[in-house]
Symmetry: C2
Subunit: 241 residues, 2 copies
DNA sequence: CCAAAAGTGTTAATGATACACCCATGG
DNA sequence: CCATGGGTGTATCATTAACACTTTTGG
């Protein structure tokens, strides 16, 4: 164990973020269009270098704020979770780059471009189904993030992170249906959610007209619970984590 | 995004391994006694530098083979899984070290010291209950590993990784009871395991005298399944992952 | 025969599934 | 008044949990 800082070819340490949201019935990911080689013109996950005095978590929030126009308050509060670290020697053609990948879940929001600032004009929400040919190994990272989010919905209360502060049970169900790409039985979903203590809390008296037509739906807020016991298993297939 | 390799203070990238086993009714972790400062004399997780042309996974197996006397065949085959990456700026007092932590599960085996070679004489199995005051942030890593393993037992077939190639259902149940620190109902455990296709496969005709007394138990091998559907939930508390 | 460990059976409670049905709103 | 989405009720089935019981071995 030799700790001379210059004993080895230096490693660069970066972060990459798979920021997911549910928009109009399909899962979207926040991508940046690359301006330089390699992969110039290709879409990539937002990310960048970890600075000498930063943890990876801190760097992830900083890069997200810099590269996208997302409001700082949202970036500070959003649910950020380590996915895994990607360290294949040739994942970046220029030098040795080890990247710590994170997953973040956000409610639907306007295009980041609208907010402006920094590199935000190159950031866009892209349906994951259309996110092929990403730069570096970002396609792999995105696939891992989807798998992870899908299985976390089963046994955690994470789905509320995809919803605005106040949401209807129909919206919450749409999150599950979008991420899992299945349809769920509404009455059963509703009972399951309401039977789990601390998953959601009713907002007294409030209601929202969802799509113009139909009965106004009651509003709920995310509750204090973080785990789902027993879990809400998706139909027929097994989680892979 | 500047990719000059020397633009930043260099980061060292290391791996740390939380290698767990079940021995005599309690969970043990493989530790190395440190020979040099800092933390000289303290126990630490095995680990070391990622070399310039290695992935973290490769480095983890190499370091494990070098630092402990574990047989190379076992090291090559063992279940190794990324836990998470620890990147707090001051986690190592000497320089900036980002560490990718892994968890490995192995069946009970002799003390690595007996096998000799390398630094193996400083490696030992220590009950996790007694593993306090570890070097660096290794106490945190170990705690994270325990949590992760506990919740993976719920929804994966991973428990067989703690068992020798052929094992009894009593031994498998002991793995669950040891990791979760609970007791399980034997008939129900048995039914659950046998009802999950591909979890275990009976070894025809074979039987083993477990503790001298009692009826000989049938032997099983790990099956091809990797996930448990529905999960085998531990009594009363929620997983944290 | 007794203790210990493996293995089988039975029942009640719990949770999941699949529906049928009613309510409130906009057009 | 009807289409649409929200919300309730209920019968049925699968899974779990609790516990009594039988079997096979060593001392």
């Amino acid at each position: 164990m030799n700790y001379d800082p210059y004993a080895f070819e230096p490693f660069a340490v970066t972060v990459d973020l798979a920021v997911l949201t549910v928009r109009g019935g399909s899962l979207h990911v926040l991508l940046i269009r690359r301006g330089q080689e390699p992969y110039a013109g290709a879409w990539a996950l937002p990310g960048g270098f970890v600075l000498p005095r930063e943890s990876a978590e801190t760097a992830a929030r900083r890069e997200l704020a810099e590269e996208t126009g997302l409001p700082p308050a949202l970036v500070a509060a959003l649910h950020l979770e380590q996915l895994r670290t990607y360290s294949e020697p040739d994942r970046d053609p220029r030098m040795r780059v080890v990247s710590v990948a994170f997953t973040a879940l956000v409610p639907d929001m306007p295009e980041p471009a609208a907010e402006g600032g920094g590199d935000a004009d190159r950031a866009r929400w892209v349906p994951v189904a259309e996110a092929a040919g990403l730069a570096f190994d970002h396609g792999l990272i995105l696939a891992d993030a989807r798998r992870r989010v899908g299985s976390k919905l089963e046994y955690t209360c994470l789905a509320t992170a995809f919803c605005p502060p106040e949401f209807t049970l129909g919206e919450l169900q749409a999150v599950y249906e979008t991420v899992w790409d299945t349809s769920l039985d509404r009455p059963n979903f509703r009972r399951k959610v309401l039977a789990t203590p601390g998953f959601v809390q009713a907002v007294p008296g409030a209601a929202r007209l969802t799509g113009g037509r139909g009965k106004p739906a009651a509003l709920y807020r995310a509750g204090p619970a973080t785990t789902l016991h027993p879990p809400l298993l998706r139909p027929s297939e097994g989680p892979t984590l």
